[in-house]
Protein backbone atom coordinates (compact mmCIF):
# COMPACT_ATOMS: atom_id res chain seq x y z
CA UNK A 1 0.00 0.00 0.00
CA UNK A 2 1.12 3.55 -0.71
CA UNK A 3 1.17 5.83 2.32
CA UNK A 4 1.26 9.58 2.58
CA UNK A 5 2.56 11.57 5.54
CA UNK A 6 0.45 14.12 7.38
CA UNK A 7 2.68 16.59 9.19
CA UNK A 8 1.93 19.57 11.42
CA UNK A 9 4.59 21.78 13.00
CA UNK A 10 4.63 23.64 16.31
CA UNK A 11 7.24 26.35 16.26
CA UNK A 12 8.41 28.35 19.26
CA UNK A 13 10.03 31.67 18.42
CA UNK A 14 11.81 33.65 21.11
CA UNK A 15 10.88 37.31 20.75
CA UNK A 16 13.57 39.99 20.59
CA UNK A 17 12.13 42.25 23.28
CA UNK A 18 14.50 43.93 25.74
CA UNK A 19 12.62 42.80 28.85
CA UNK A 20 10.74 39.63 29.78
CA UNK A 21 7.06 39.11 29.04
CA UNK A 22 5.67 39.75 32.55
CA UNK A 23 8.51 41.53 34.41
CA UNK A 24 11.29 44.06 33.78
CA UNK A 25 14.18 41.58 33.89
CA UNK A 26 16.53 41.66 30.90
CA UNK A 27 16.28 39.01 28.17
CA UNK A 28 19.94 39.42 27.18
CA UNK A 29 21.61 36.12 26.36
CA UNK A 30 24.76 34.94 28.13
CA UNK A 31 24.42 36.47 31.60
CA UNK A 32 25.78 34.71 34.70
CA UNK A 33 23.30 32.08 35.96
CA UNK A 34 20.22 33.46 37.75
CA UNK A 35 21.31 37.11 37.41
CA UNK A 36 18.24 38.11 35.34
CA UNK A 37 15.60 37.15 37.87
CA UNK A 38 13.13 38.89 40.17
CA UNK A 39 10.23 37.86 42.40
CA UNK A 40 7.85 37.79 39.40
CA UNK A 41 9.84 35.45 37.15
CA UNK A 42 10.96 33.41 40.17
CA UNK A 43 7.29 32.74 40.86
CA UNK A 44 7.25 34.13 44.41
CA UNK A 45 3.83 34.14 46.06
CA UNK A 46 1.88 37.37 45.92
CA UNK A 47 3.58 38.94 42.90
CA UNK A 48 1.68 40.29 39.91
CA UNK A 49 2.74 39.71 36.30
CA UNK A 50 2.20 42.67 33.92
CA UNK A 51 2.17 42.12 30.16
CA UNK A 52 4.89 43.69 27.98
CA UNK A 53 3.30 45.79 25.17
CA UNK A 54 6.05 44.93 22.70
CA UNK A 55 5.25 41.19 22.99
CA UNK A 56 1.73 41.96 21.77
CA UNK A 57 3.06 44.18 18.98
CA UNK A 58 5.53 41.53 17.76
CA UNK A 59 2.87 38.82 17.82
CA UNK A 60 0.37 40.99 15.92
CA UNK A 61 3.11 41.83 13.39
CA UNK A 62 3.75 38.12 12.86
CA UNK A 63 0.02 37.39 12.71
CA UNK A 64 -0.45 39.99 9.98
CA UNK A 65 2.53 38.67 8.01
CA UNK A 66 1.04 35.16 8.21
CA UNK A 67 -2.40 36.34 7.04
CA UNK A 68 -4.04 35.69 10.41
CA UNK A 69 -7.14 37.15 11.99
CA UNK A 70 -6.09 39.24 14.98
CA UNK A 71 -8.58 38.54 17.76
CA UNK A 72 -9.93 41.64 19.43
CA UNK A 73 -10.31 39.73 22.67
CA UNK A 74 -7.77 37.27 24.02
CA UNK A 75 -6.58 36.09 27.39
CA UNK A 76 -3.91 34.15 29.21
CA UNK A 77 -4.21 30.72 30.76
CA UNK A 78 -2.16 28.64 33.14
CA UNK A 79 -0.70 25.39 31.86
CA UNK A 80 0.03 23.29 34.92
CA UNK A 81 2.95 20.87 35.20
CA UNK A 82 5.94 20.28 37.43
CA UNK A 83 9.49 20.72 36.26
CA UNK A 84 12.45 22.34 38.02
CA UNK A 85 12.85 24.95 35.26
CA UNK A 86 9.30 26.16 35.88
CA UNK A 87 9.33 27.79 39.33
CA UNK A 88 5.60 28.56 39.54
CA UNK A 89 4.48 25.01 38.74
CA UNK A 90 2.64 26.42 35.72
CA UNK A 91 3.49 28.21 32.52
CA UNK A 92 1.53 31.31 31.55
CA UNK A 93 0.33 30.67 28.01
CA UNK A 94 -2.81 31.18 25.95
CA UNK A 95 -5.37 28.46 25.43
CA UNK A 96 -8.87 28.92 24.07
CA UNK A 97 -8.52 32.60 23.13
CA UNK A 98 -5.16 33.08 21.37
CA UNK A 99 -4.15 36.43 19.85
CA UNK A 100 -3.93 35.26 16.21
CA UNK A 101 -5.80 32.54 14.27
CA UNK A 102 -6.68 31.22 10.81
CA UNK A 103 -3.61 32.26 8.83
CA UNK A 104 -1.48 30.65 6.15
CA UNK A 105 1.96 30.62 4.65
CA UNK A 106 2.93 29.89 1.02
CA UNK A 107 5.86 27.58 0.41
CA UNK A 108 7.56 26.51 -2.77
CA UNK A 109 9.08 23.04 -3.20
CA UNK A 110 10.64 22.22 -6.56
CA UNK A 111 8.60 24.91 -8.26
CA UNK A 112 5.33 23.67 -6.76
CA UNK A 113 3.51 26.23 -4.62
CA UNK A 114 1.66 25.00 -1.54
CA UNK A 115 -0.45 26.80 1.01
CA UNK A 116 0.13 25.70 4.60
CA UNK A 117 -2.51 26.76 7.10
CA UNK A 118 -1.52 28.46 10.35
CA UNK A 119 -3.99 27.39 13.03
CA UNK A 120 -2.94 29.88 15.67
CA UNK A 121 -0.20 32.06 17.11
CA UNK A 122 -0.17 32.61 20.83
CA UNK A 123 2.03 34.31 23.42
CA UNK A 124 3.63 32.52 26.34
CA UNK A 125 6.61 32.58 28.67
CA UNK A 126 9.75 30.48 28.22
CA UNK A 127 10.99 28.12 30.93
CA UNK A 128 14.47 28.14 32.48
CA UNK A 129 17.41 25.96 31.59
CA UNK A 130 18.54 22.76 33.27
CA UNK A 131 22.12 21.65 33.14
CA UNK A 132 22.59 18.02 33.99
CA UNK A 133 25.55 16.92 36.06
CA UNK A 134 28.27 14.68 34.67
CA UNK A 135 28.13 10.93 35.09
CA UNK A 136 28.15 10.04 38.76
CA UNK A 137 26.74 13.44 39.78
CA UNK A 138 23.24 12.92 41.11
CA UNK A 139 22.20 16.58 40.65
CA UNK A 140 20.88 18.92 37.98
CA UNK A 141 21.50 22.66 38.00
CA UNK A 142 18.83 25.22 37.23
CA UNK A 143 19.34 28.67 35.69
CA UNK A 144 16.20 30.80 35.59
CA UNK A 145 17.51 33.65 33.39
CA UNK A 146 15.39 32.39 30.50
CA UNK A 147 12.26 31.95 32.64
CA UNK A 148 9.74 34.52 31.42
CA UNK A 149 11.49 35.37 28.16
CA UNK A 150 8.64 35.93 25.68
CA UNK A 151 7.80 33.20 23.18
CA UNK A 152 5.40 33.05 20.30
CA UNK A 153 4.05 29.59 19.50
CA UNK A 154 3.08 29.21 15.85
CA UNK A 155 0.98 26.11 15.19
CA UNK A 156 0.45 24.89 11.63
CA UNK A 157 -2.45 22.91 10.26
CA UNK A 158 -1.56 19.30 9.36
CA UNK A 159 -1.19 20.46 5.74
CA UNK A 160 2.43 19.42 5.24
CA UNK A 161 2.89 16.21 3.22
CA UNK A 162 6.64 15.65 2.92
CA UNK A 163 9.79 16.22 5.00
CA UNK A 164 11.02 18.63 2.27
CA UNK A 165 7.86 20.69 2.67
CA UNK A 166 8.42 20.78 6.43
CA UNK A 167 11.94 22.10 5.94
CA UNK A 168 10.68 24.63 3.38
CA UNK A 169 8.00 25.80 5.84
CA UNK A 170 10.61 26.27 8.56
CA UNK A 171 12.92 28.18 6.21
CA UNK A 172 10.10 30.45 5.12
CA UNK A 173 8.96 31.05 8.68
CA UNK A 174 12.50 31.86 9.78
CA UNK A 175 12.92 34.23 6.89
CA UNK A 176 9.66 36.01 7.80
CA UNK A 177 10.33 36.41 11.54
CA UNK A 178 13.77 37.75 10.66
CA UNK A 179 12.35 40.20 8.12
CA UNK A 180 9.86 41.30 10.79
CA UNK A 181 12.75 41.67 13.24
CA UNK A 182 10.78 39.90 15.97
CA UNK A 183 13.07 36.85 16.43
CA UNK A 184 16.71 36.23 15.52
CA UNK A 185 15.77 32.82 14.09
CA UNK A 186 18.79 30.96 15.43
CA UNK A 187 17.82 27.28 15.56
CA UNK A 188 21.15 26.05 16.93
CA UNK A 189 20.90 28.41 19.91
CA UNK A 190 17.24 27.58 20.40
CA UNK A 191 15.66 30.96 19.66
CA UNK A 192 13.62 29.13 17.01
CA UNK A 193 12.49 25.61 18.00
CA UNK A 194 10.40 23.11 16.13
CA UNK A 195 8.31 20.14 17.22
CA UNK A 196 6.54 18.01 14.64
CA UNK A 197 3.45 15.82 14.65
CA UNK A 198 3.55 13.12 12.01
CA UNK A 199 1.22 10.31 11.05
CA UNK A 200 0.76 8.18 7.94
CA UNK A 201 -2.39 7.21 6.07
CA UNK A 202 -3.10 5.32 2.87
CA UNK A 203 -2.97 7.67 -0.13
CA UNK A 204 -6.50 8.91 -0.78
CA UNK A 205 -7.74 8.31 2.77
CA UNK A 206 -9.20 11.25 4.65
CA UNK A 207 -9.03 9.84 8.14
CA UNK A 208 -5.88 10.61 10.12
CA UNK A 209 -3.56 7.89 11.39
CA UNK A 210 -2.01 7.73 14.87
CA UNK A 211 0.66 10.39 15.21
CA UNK A 212 4.02 10.57 16.87
CA UNK A 213 5.37 13.84 18.25
CA UNK A 214 9.00 14.58 17.38
CA UNK A 215 11.22 16.84 19.42
CA UNK A 216 14.82 17.99 19.58
CA UNK A 217 15.41 18.97 15.95
CA UNK A 218 17.69 21.99 16.07
CA UNK A 219 18.32 22.72 12.41
CA UNK A 220 16.40 22.69 9.10
CA UNK A 221 18.44 19.68 8.07
CA UNK A 222 17.52 17.83 11.26
CA UNK A 223 13.82 18.63 10.86
CA UNK A 224 13.91 17.06 7.41
CA UNK A 225 16.05 14.08 8.42
CA UNK A 226 14.01 13.28 11.53
CA UNK A 227 10.79 13.33 9.51
CA UNK A 228 12.33 11.19 6.75
CA UNK A 229 13.38 8.66 9.37
CA UNK A 230 9.93 8.72 10.94
CA UNK A 231 8.19 8.17 7.59
CA UNK A 232 10.36 5.10 7.04
CA UNK A 233 9.82 3.81 10.58
CA UNK A 234 6.05 4.21 10.49
CA UNK A 235 5.80 2.75 6.96
CA UNK A 236 7.73 -0.33 8.06
CA UNK A 237 5.53 -0.71 11.15
CA UNK A 238 2.31 -0.49 9.12
CA UNK A 239 3.55 -2.78 6.37
CA UNK A 240 4.45 -5.42 8.92
CA UNK A 241 0.88 -5.25 10.16
CA UNK A 242 1.79 -3.39 13.34
CA UNK A 243 0.46 -0.07 14.50
CA UNK A 244 1.94 3.29 15.43
CA UNK A 245 1.61 4.26 19.08
CA UNK A 246 0.88 7.83 20.05
CA UNK A 247 4.05 8.95 21.80
CA UNK A 248 6.78 11.56 21.98
CA UNK A 249 10.04 10.68 20.26
CA UNK A 250 13.39 12.45 20.47
CA UNK A 251 15.57 12.95 17.41
CA UNK A 252 19.10 11.70 18.00
CA UNK A 253 21.11 13.59 15.38
CA UNK A 254 24.33 11.63 16.00
CA UNK A 255 22.73 8.27 15.37
CA UNK A 256 20.17 9.53 12.86
CA UNK A 257 17.21 7.91 14.61
CA UNK A 258 14.17 8.93 16.65
CA UNK A 259 13.85 7.32 20.06
CA UNK A 260 10.77 6.84 22.18
CA UNK A 261 10.61 8.84 25.42
CA UNK A 262 8.58 6.04 26.99
CA UNK A 263 8.15 6.37 30.72
CA UNK A 264 8.92 10.10 30.69
CA UNK A 265 5.48 10.76 29.49
CA UNK A 266 2.73 10.74 32.00
CA UNK A 267 -0.51 11.50 30.28
CA UNK A 268 -0.57 15.20 29.36
CA UNK A 269 -3.03 16.69 31.77
CA UNK A 270 -2.24 20.38 31.90
CA UNK A 271 -5.51 21.50 33.52
CA UNK A 272 -5.55 24.83 31.66
CA UNK A 273 -7.57 27.56 33.31
CA UNK A 274 -7.73 31.35 32.84
CA UNK A 275 -4.95 33.10 34.75
CA UNK A 276 -6.63 35.29 37.39
CA UNK A 277 -3.46 37.45 37.69
CA UNK A 278 -3.81 38.75 34.16
CA UNK A 279 -6.75 40.71 32.80
CA UNK A 280 -7.98 40.11 29.25
CA UNK A 281 -6.25 41.74 26.30
CA UNK A 282 -8.34 43.85 23.96
CA UNK A 283 -6.84 44.82 20.63
CA UNK A 284 -8.85 47.36 18.63
CA UNK A 285 -8.52 48.22 14.93
CA UNK A 286 -6.48 51.33 15.69
CA UNK A 287 -3.87 49.21 17.43
CA UNK A 288 -3.75 46.74 14.54
CA UNK A 289 -3.44 49.62 12.03
CA UNK A 290 -0.57 51.06 14.02
CA UNK A 291 1.28 47.73 13.85
CA UNK A 292 0.46 47.35 10.17
CA UNK A 293 2.41 50.54 9.48
CA UNK A 294 5.57 48.91 10.86
CA UNK A 295 5.41 45.93 8.48
CA UNK A 296 8.39 45.77 6.12
CA UNK A 297 8.26 44.44 2.57
CA UNK A 298 8.07 40.66 3.08
CA UNK A 299 10.07 37.99 1.21
CA UNK A 300 7.33 37.05 -1.29
CA UNK A 301 6.57 40.67 -2.23
CA UNK A 302 10.27 41.45 -2.46
CA UNK A 303 10.84 38.46 -4.71
CA UNK A 304 8.08 39.58 -7.09
CA UNK A 305 9.54 43.09 -7.11
CA UNK A 306 13.07 41.82 -7.81
CA UNK A 307 11.73 39.88 -10.81
CA UNK A 308 9.81 42.88 -12.14
CA UNK A 309 12.18 45.70 -11.29
CA UNK A 310 15.52 44.01 -12.04
CA UNK A 311 14.34 41.47 -14.59
CA UNK A 312 15.92 38.65 -12.59
CA UNK A 313 15.02 34.97 -13.05
CA UNK A 314 12.71 33.59 -10.36
CA UNK A 315 15.48 31.43 -8.93
CA UNK A 316 17.81 34.41 -8.44
CA UNK A 317 15.05 36.52 -6.91
CA UNK A 318 14.18 33.75 -4.48
CA UNK A 319 17.75 33.20 -3.32
CA UNK A 320 18.43 36.94 -2.99
CA UNK A 321 15.29 37.64 -0.95
CA UNK A 322 15.48 34.60 1.34
CA UNK A 323 17.36 36.73 3.84
CA UNK A 324 16.85 40.42 4.42
CA UNK A 325 20.61 40.97 4.75
CA UNK A 326 21.23 39.46 1.33
CA UNK A 327 18.43 41.48 -0.31
CA UNK A 328 19.82 44.69 1.19
CA UNK A 329 23.30 43.73 -0.01
CA UNK A 330 22.04 43.13 -3.54
CA UNK A 331 20.18 46.44 -3.75
CA UNK A 332 23.09 48.43 -2.33
CA UNK A 333 25.50 46.81 -4.79
CA UNK A 334 23.26 47.14 -7.81
CA UNK A 335 22.55 50.79 -7.05
CA UNK A 336 26.15 51.47 -8.07
CA UNK A 337 26.89 48.62 -10.46
CA UNK A 338 23.60 48.93 -12.42
CA UNK A 339 23.83 45.41 -13.78
CA UNK A 340 21.39 43.22 -11.83
CA UNK A 341 22.14 39.82 -13.35
CA UNK A 342 25.90 40.26 -13.05
CA UNK A 343 25.56 41.42 -9.44
CA UNK A 344 23.23 38.50 -8.73
CA UNK A 345 25.74 36.01 -10.20
CA UNK A 346 28.55 37.32 -8.03
CA UNK A 347 26.39 37.29 -4.91
CA UNK A 348 24.93 33.82 -5.49
CA UNK A 349 28.31 32.42 -6.46
CA UNK A 350 31.35 33.87 -4.74
CA UNK A 351 29.73 35.87 -1.94
CA UNK A 352 27.39 33.14 -0.69
CA UNK A 353 30.14 30.56 -0.90
CA UNK A 354 32.56 32.73 1.12
CA UNK A 355 29.88 33.63 3.69
CA UNK A 356 28.58 30.05 3.86
CA UNK A 357 25.08 31.45 3.36
CA UNK A 358 25.15 32.89 6.88
CA UNK A 359 23.25 36.19 7.35
CA UNK A 360 25.61 37.48 10.02
CA UNK A 361 28.62 36.78 7.85
CA UNK A 362 27.00 38.64 4.98
CA UNK A 363 26.34 41.58 7.29
CA UNK A 364 29.99 41.66 8.35
CA UNK A 365 31.53 40.50 5.08
CA UNK A 366 34.77 42.41 4.32
CA UNK A 367 33.60 42.77 0.71
CA UNK A 368 31.16 45.66 1.07
CA UNK A 369 28.46 46.07 -1.60
CA UNK A 370 30.19 49.22 -2.95
CA UNK A 371 33.45 47.28 -3.34
CA UNK A 372 31.79 44.50 -5.31
CA UNK A 373 30.03 47.15 -7.43
CA UNK A 374 33.36 48.84 -8.15
CA UNK A 375 34.89 45.53 -9.20
CA UNK A 376 31.96 44.78 -11.50
CA UNK A 377 32.40 48.19 -13.12
CA UNK A 378 36.09 47.41 -13.68
CA UNK A 379 35.11 44.23 -15.52
CA UNK A 380 32.59 46.20 -17.57
CA UNK A 381 35.22 48.74 -18.58
CA UNK A 382 37.67 45.98 -19.49
CA UNK A 383 40.16 47.04 -16.81
CA UNK A 384 40.22 43.48 -15.52
CA UNK A 385 39.02 40.20 -17.00
CA UNK A 386 36.26 38.11 -15.42
CA UNK A 387 38.86 35.51 -14.55
CA UNK A 388 41.15 37.99 -12.81
CA UNK A 389 38.09 39.31 -10.97
CA UNK A 390 37.88 35.99 -9.12
CA UNK A 391 41.38 36.66 -7.77
CA UNK A 392 40.44 40.24 -6.91
CA UNK A 393 37.33 39.02 -5.07
CA UNK A 394 39.31 36.51 -3.02
CA UNK A 395 41.82 39.22 -2.17
CA UNK A 396 39.05 41.65 -1.12
CA UNK A 397 37.70 38.92 1.12
CA UNK A 398 41.13 38.45 2.70
CA UNK A 399 42.32 42.03 3.07
CA UNK A 400 39.20 44.18 2.82
CA UNK A 401 41.11 46.44 0.41
CA UNK A 402 39.30 48.15 -2.46
CA UNK A 403 39.46 46.43 -5.86
CA UNK A 404 41.26 49.42 -7.38
CA UNK A 405 44.08 49.18 -4.85
CA UNK A 406 44.32 45.40 -5.22
CA UNK A 407 44.53 45.61 -9.02
CA UNK A 408 47.26 48.27 -8.76
CA UNK A 409 49.24 46.50 -6.04
CA UNK A 410 49.14 43.12 -7.74
CA UNK A 411 49.50 44.52 -11.23
CA UNK A 412 46.38 42.73 -12.51
CA UNK A 413 45.25 45.22 -15.14
CA UNK A 414 44.08 43.43 -18.26
CA UNK A 415 46.35 43.68 -21.29
CA UNK A 416 44.32 44.79 -24.28
CA UNK A 417 47.21 46.27 -26.22
CA UNK A 418 47.52 44.08 -29.31
CA UNK A 419 51.22 44.76 -29.72
CA UNK A 420 51.95 43.34 -26.31
CA UNK A 421 49.75 40.29 -26.81
CA UNK A 422 51.10 39.56 -30.29
CA UNK A 423 54.51 39.02 -28.78
CA UNK A 424 53.20 36.36 -26.45
CA UNK A 425 51.09 34.75 -29.21
CA UNK A 426 54.09 34.45 -31.48
CA UNK A 427 56.23 32.97 -28.73
CA UNK A 428 53.58 30.35 -27.97
CA UNK A 429 53.16 29.43 -31.64
CA UNK A 430 56.93 29.09 -32.06
CA UNK A 431 57.23 26.89 -28.99
CA UNK A 432 54.53 24.39 -30.04
CA UNK A 433 55.14 23.31 -33.65
CA UNK A 434 53.39 19.94 -33.21
CA UNK A 435 50.11 21.54 -32.11
CA UNK A 436 50.40 24.12 -34.89
CA UNK A 437 50.61 21.22 -37.34
CA UNK A 438 47.49 19.60 -35.82
CA UNK A 439 45.52 22.84 -36.01
CA UNK A 440 46.47 23.43 -39.62
CA UNK A 441 45.44 19.89 -40.53
CA UNK A 442 41.93 20.70 -39.33
CA UNK A 443 41.90 19.93 -35.57
CA UNK A 444 40.29 23.20 -34.54
CA UNK A 445 39.93 22.10 -30.96
CA UNK A 446 43.62 22.74 -30.48
CA UNK A 447 42.81 26.45 -30.50
CA UNK A 448 41.74 26.08 -26.88
CA UNK A 449 45.18 24.78 -26.04
CA UNK A 450 46.77 27.87 -27.54
CA UNK A 451 44.42 30.25 -25.76
CA UNK A 452 45.26 28.51 -22.50
CA UNK A 453 49.00 28.79 -23.13
CA UNK A 454 48.77 32.50 -23.96
CA UNK A 455 46.63 33.20 -20.89
CA UNK A 456 49.10 31.30 -18.76
CA UNK A 457 52.07 33.17 -20.19
CA UNK A 458 50.30 36.50 -19.52
CA UNK A 459 49.40 35.33 -16.01
CA UNK A 460 45.72 35.60 -16.88
CA UNK A 461 45.94 39.26 -17.80
CA UNK A 462 45.60 39.09 -21.60
CA UNK A 463 42.18 40.02 -22.92
CA UNK A 464 40.71 36.69 -24.12
CA UNK A 465 38.85 38.25 -27.06
CA UNK A 466 42.03 39.81 -28.38
CA UNK A 467 43.95 36.58 -27.80
CA UNK A 468 41.41 34.58 -29.82
CA UNK A 469 41.44 37.06 -32.65
CA UNK A 470 45.25 37.22 -32.86
CA UNK A 471 45.66 33.43 -32.65
CA UNK A 472 43.27 32.88 -35.51
CA UNK A 473 45.14 35.43 -37.61
CA UNK A 474 48.58 33.94 -36.96
CA UNK A 475 47.73 30.28 -37.20
Amino acid sequence: MEYEAVIGLEVHAQLKTKSKIFCNCSTAFGAEPNHHTCPVCLGMPGVLPVLNREVVNYTIRTGLALNCTINSFSRFARKNYFYPDLPKGYQISQYELPLCEHGYLMIDVDGRERRIGVTRIHMEEDAGKNIHGEKGDSSSYVDLNRTGVPLMEIVSEPDIRTPEEAAAYMRKLRSIVRYLDVCDGNMEEGSLRCDANISLRPVGATELGVKAELKNMNSFKNVQKALEYEVKRQTRLLEEGGSVIQETRLWDADRGVTLSMRGKEEAHDYRYFPDPDLVPLQVDDAWIEEVKKTLPELPDAKMERFMAEYDLPRYDAEVLTASRELAVYFEACNKEARSPKVVSNWIMGDLLRECKGDDQEILHCPVRPEMLAEMIRMIGKGTISGKIAKTVFAEMMKSGKSPEIIVKEKNLVQITDEGEIVKIVEEVIAANPAQVEQFRSGKEKVLGFFVGQVMKASRGKANPTVVNKLLKERL
Binding site: K18, S19, N24, C25, V50, L51, E54, F82, Y141
Partner: protein, 94 residues
Protein backbone atom coordinates in the same frame (compact mmCIF):
# COMPACT_ATOMS: atom_id res chain seq x y z
CA UNK B 1 -21.05 10.60 43.16
CA UNK B 2 -19.39 13.72 41.66
CA UNK B 3 -15.89 12.30 41.84
CA UNK B 4 -14.41 8.80 41.81
CA UNK B 5 -11.59 7.32 43.83
CA UNK B 6 -9.61 7.03 40.58
CA UNK B 7 -9.97 10.72 39.87
CA UNK B 8 -8.81 11.61 43.37
CA UNK B 9 -5.78 9.37 42.93
CA UNK B 10 -5.05 10.96 39.54
CA UNK B 11 -5.31 14.51 40.88
CA UNK B 12 -3.12 13.60 43.85
CA UNK B 13 -0.59 12.16 41.43
CA UNK B 14 -0.59 15.35 39.33
CA UNK B 15 -0.06 17.37 42.51
CA UNK B 16 2.75 15.00 43.56
CA UNK B 17 0.88 14.01 46.74
CA UNK B 18 1.24 10.56 48.18
CA UNK B 19 -2.04 9.50 49.78
CA UNK B 20 -2.80 6.45 51.89
CA UNK B 21 -5.86 4.35 51.05
CA UNK B 22 -7.68 5.87 54.01
CA UNK B 23 -6.88 9.38 52.85
CA UNK B 24 -8.14 8.62 49.35
CA UNK B 25 -11.46 7.48 50.88
CA UNK B 26 -11.61 10.52 53.13
CA UNK B 27 -10.83 13.04 50.34
CA UNK B 28 -13.17 11.35 47.88
CA UNK B 29 -16.01 11.88 50.36
CA UNK B 30 -15.00 15.47 51.15
CA UNK B 31 -14.44 16.49 47.51
CA UNK B 32 -17.72 14.91 46.57
CA UNK B 33 -19.50 17.04 49.18
CA UNK B 34 -17.76 20.20 47.94
CA UNK B 35 -18.55 19.49 44.28
CA UNK B 36 -22.18 18.69 45.09
CA UNK B 37 -22.41 22.01 46.92
CA UNK B 38 -20.85 23.94 44.01
CA UNK B 39 -23.24 22.13 41.73
CA UNK B 40 -26.02 24.21 43.23
CA UNK B 41 -24.85 26.99 40.88
CA UNK B 42 -26.07 24.94 37.95
CA UNK B 43 -29.61 25.53 39.13
CA UNK B 44 -29.25 29.18 38.08
CA UNK B 45 -30.55 30.08 34.64
CA UNK B 46 -27.59 31.84 32.92
CA UNK B 47 -28.99 31.76 29.38
CA UNK B 48 -28.95 35.56 29.12
CA UNK B 49 -25.68 36.16 30.98
CA UNK B 50 -22.49 37.02 29.04
CA UNK B 51 -19.58 34.70 29.87
CA UNK B 52 -17.09 36.38 32.19
CA UNK B 53 -13.40 36.35 31.30
CA UNK B 54 -12.27 37.89 34.55
CA UNK B 55 -13.91 38.91 37.81
CA UNK B 56 -12.84 42.54 37.45
CA UNK B 57 -13.91 44.39 34.34
CA UNK B 58 -10.57 45.84 33.34
CA UNK B 59 -8.63 45.11 30.18
CA UNK B 60 -5.18 45.89 28.82
CA UNK B 61 -3.04 46.31 31.89
CA UNK B 62 0.19 46.65 29.99
CA UNK B 63 3.71 47.93 30.59
CA UNK B 64 6.32 49.34 28.21
CA UNK B 65 9.29 47.18 27.18
CA UNK B 66 11.82 48.59 29.64
CA UNK B 67 14.56 46.75 31.53
CA UNK B 68 14.95 47.38 35.27
CA UNK B 69 17.52 45.97 37.65
CA UNK B 70 16.97 42.37 38.66
CA UNK B 71 17.48 41.38 42.29
CA UNK B 72 20.87 40.37 43.76
CA UNK B 73 21.81 36.73 43.25
CA UNK B 74 21.99 36.21 47.00
CA UNK B 75 18.30 37.05 47.29
CA UNK B 76 17.34 34.96 44.29
CA UNK B 77 18.93 31.90 45.84
CA UNK B 78 18.03 32.68 49.46
CA UNK B 79 15.09 30.23 49.66
CA UNK B 80 16.81 27.40 47.84
CA UNK B 81 17.61 24.30 49.91
CA UNK B 82 20.74 23.74 47.82
CA UNK B 83 22.76 25.90 45.43
CA UNK B 84 25.98 25.53 43.49
CA UNK B 85 27.96 28.33 41.81
CA UNK B 86 24.90 30.49 41.27
CA UNK B 87 22.63 27.62 40.17
CA UNK B 88 19.70 26.08 42.00
CA UNK B 89 20.76 22.52 42.74
CA UNK B 90 18.03 19.90 42.35
CA UNK B 91 17.88 16.08 42.20
CA UNK B 92 18.95 14.87 38.76
CA UNK B 93 16.10 15.15 36.26
CA UNK B 94 17.12 12.79 33.47
Amino acid sequence: MKISRNEVEHVADLARLELSGEEVDQFTGQLDAILSYIDKLNELDTADVEPTAHVIHVGNVIREDRVCDSIPLKETLSNAPETDEGFFKVPKII
